[in-house]
């Protein structure tokens, strides 16, 4: 009986992580190992979107910018200030969280396309700032020789542990009253507010939590690559993260982990295949979206309930009308 009870608590997430734990032990070629590493790094960003988009319904296309903040904070702290990588690991995500308040504050009023545009603009601003401050960030030449916490297999298992903790944390968050408040915001802000949820603060909370995760992902990126370049943090990456989280079921942790690995690109040498693969995934998503009503794709239906007929400029009476205010 006890054994059965234990088995019940093992979910899809645990199984996936168990597999990830075991694969490298059997000895795999280096570029497949690289995929695993990259996949793991992406998992953290996708989890951040599970919280921000899946739970809270905030459509953000600025995650690449947040990952960049995490990566460069870590890199700059270690390279320019000689800080120990372990301290960098802790501080960089915190910095990312702080910076995201600058993103979150303007964002909480915005919905739909306006929110999207805001987050894209934010991400671009970050990238341009990185590009043009060569003294600090290395600009287009990149930031090199970044000290790492570990490399190779030890790094992988370290990231695995952190990713697992993040996944479990996300699951717990989703099942909690905080997750419930997030979902209430996603489905019906007015109802949430009327039931005592401080919508603005909770949106900010969602932004900060998700950006801390993105920041950790950035630290991982820096550790894996050993150097940083602003070209790794563009709209391209942000939209890829979005693709991953949507393919994975948006609020589904296990699914999102799987899709992170599925979508993670092959290394530069096989760039052509990576691009074709992106085309395929884009098409899959287009079909999913196009036929979402017909196929009754649960993820899409379950995610948003209030139909807002026409997105309008925030603050206009038409926007109020659309929100259900007569």
């Amino acid at each position: 009986m006890a054994r059965l009870a234990f088995l019940k608590r093992i979910g899809a997430t645990q199984v996936i992580f168990l597999i990830l734990l075991l694969i490298p032990l059997s000895g795999i070629p280096s570029y497949q190992f690289y995929i695993l590493e990259r996949g793991l790094q992406n998992v953290l960003v996708v989890l951040s979107l599970v919280i921000l988009l899946g739970f809270t319904g905030q459509l953000s296309l600025g995650q690449a910018g947040l990952v960049a903040v995490g990566a460069y904070s870590y890199g700059i702290l270690c390279v320019n200030f000689g800080v120990s990588p372990w301290i960098g690991l802790v501080v960089a995500p915190l910095i990312t969280g702080l910076v995201s308040l600058a993103l979150g504050f303007p964002s909480f009023k915005l919905t739909g396309p306006f929110l999207v545009v805001n987050t894209i603009a934010f991400s671009e601003i970050v990238r341009i700032l990185i590009l043009n401050n060569e003294k600090i960030t290395g600009g287009p030449f990149g930031l090199n020789s970044i000290p790492t916490i570990a490399t190779g297999l030890p790094l992988y298992y370290f990231m695995l542990v952190i990713a697992y903790l993040a996944a479990v944390g996300t699951l717990r968050l989703g099942r909690s009253h905080i997750g419930l408040a997030f979902k209430a915001i996603r489905e019906d802000e007015i109802a949430a507010e009327s039931m005592g949820v401080h919508v603005r603060n909770f949106k900010l909370l969602a932004f900060v939590i998700s950006s801390v995760l993105a920041g950790i992902s950035g630290v991982f990126f820096a550790n894996m690559a050993g150097y940083l370049n602003p070209d790794s943090f563009t709209f391209n990456e942000s939209s890829t993260y979005l693709l991953m989280v949507v393919l994975g079921g948006m609020s589904n942790v296990a699914g999102s982990i799987l899709s992170s690995f599925a979508v993670t690109s092959l290394p530069e040498a096989l760039r052509f295949m990576a691009r074709s693969r992106m085309v395929v995934y884009a098409i899959i998503l287009l079909v999913m979206v196009r036929y979402s009503k017909v196929l009754e794709i649960e993820n899409f239906k379950r995610l948003f309930r209030r139909l807002r007929p026409i997105p309008t400029a925030p603050g206009s009476p038409a926007a109020d009308h659309a929100k259900g205010k007569p």
Binding site: S176, L180, E187, M195, G196, V197, H198
Partner: protein, 256 residues
């Protein structure tokens, strides 16, 4: 002892005056009816009271405090609960979860507790779960406990909304047409429930078109027309008020 008092409460939308200098009050322990033809501003009035709209003029006093211009979530914590004319449940979640949302304002656990599943969190959730089960019994919804809200019959969904509002332990409950769309026996159950709610110490302001229900339940009735209060009194009194009769018949006699 007045629990809720509005004084010259006014709400304009551009050129339209949806609520026009409305004075009303609800005493503790009362069920008050709020009636009027469609479009007379009843829901808007409730929206102003609960902070969804800011009033153009006038004040709202609740439990001794001025609450106009306060945000909705704050007003909720002060003890004002409400249901919506068009149900605003989280349809993709279970009845249990929907009602649990009502306890948001009473939740002490924070992010740390959630991430580490502390004893504090688990104890608190157990308490809430017990109370939710109590409410489910109280409202007759126990069989739907783990059902997704969207799978419930419409009438039951309305009750879930009431249960959710009760979970917040309000002093005053503003109900917006809870009987709309209910069949005969459901209406009867609703009336019984509302009496039970009142008896448990929660005052009610009831917007309704269902006159039999208003008559049976209300201690006091307010009548709105075109945003203005045109009459008030016991149901018997307002029933015979010519202004009220004219308001209803004048607009084509539209009431349930």
């Amino acid at each position: 002892m007045s629990l809720l008092t509005t004084a010259k409460l006014t709400k304009r939308f551009g050129g339209i005056v949806a609520v026009n200098e409305v004075d009303l009050s609800v005493r503790a322990g009362q069920i008050c009816g709020l009636i009027g033809p469609n479009g007379s501003g009843k829901t808007t009035l409730v929206n102003v009271i609960t902070g969804i709209y800011k009033p153009t003029a006038g004040t709202v006093l609740f439990d001794g405090r001025a609450i106009q211009n306060r945000p909705s979530h704050e007003i909720c914590t002060l003890g004002v609960g409400r249901t919506f004319q068009n149900i605003r449940l989280l349809l993709t979640l279970s009845v249990f979860d929907n009602i649990r949302l009502g306890a948001h304002i009473h939740t002490r656990s924070n992010l740390w507790d959630v991430l580490f599943q502390t004893v504090k969190l688990r104890r608190e959730e157990k308490e809430f779960a017990d109370r939710i089960d109590e409410l489910l019994e109280f409202t007759g919804l126990f069989q739907y406990r783990n059902e997704l809200a969207k799978n419930l019959p419409y009438g039951r969904q309305k009750i879930v909304e009431i249960a959710r509002a009760l979970m917040a332990r309000p002093k005053l409950l503003l109900l917006d047409e809870p009987a709309a769309g209910l069949n005969g026996s459901e209406k009867g159950n609703l009336m019984t429930l509302l009496r039970k709610i009142r008896d448990s110490g929660v005052s009610i302001l009831l917007i309704e078109h269902e006159m039999a229900m208003v008559e049976a339940l209300s201690d006091h009735v307010f009548v709105l027309n075109y945003g203005r209060k045109i009459s008030q009194g016991t149901f018997a009194e307002i029933k015979n008020d010519s202004a009220v009769v004219e308001a209803y018949l004048g607009t084509g006699g539209s009431h349930a």
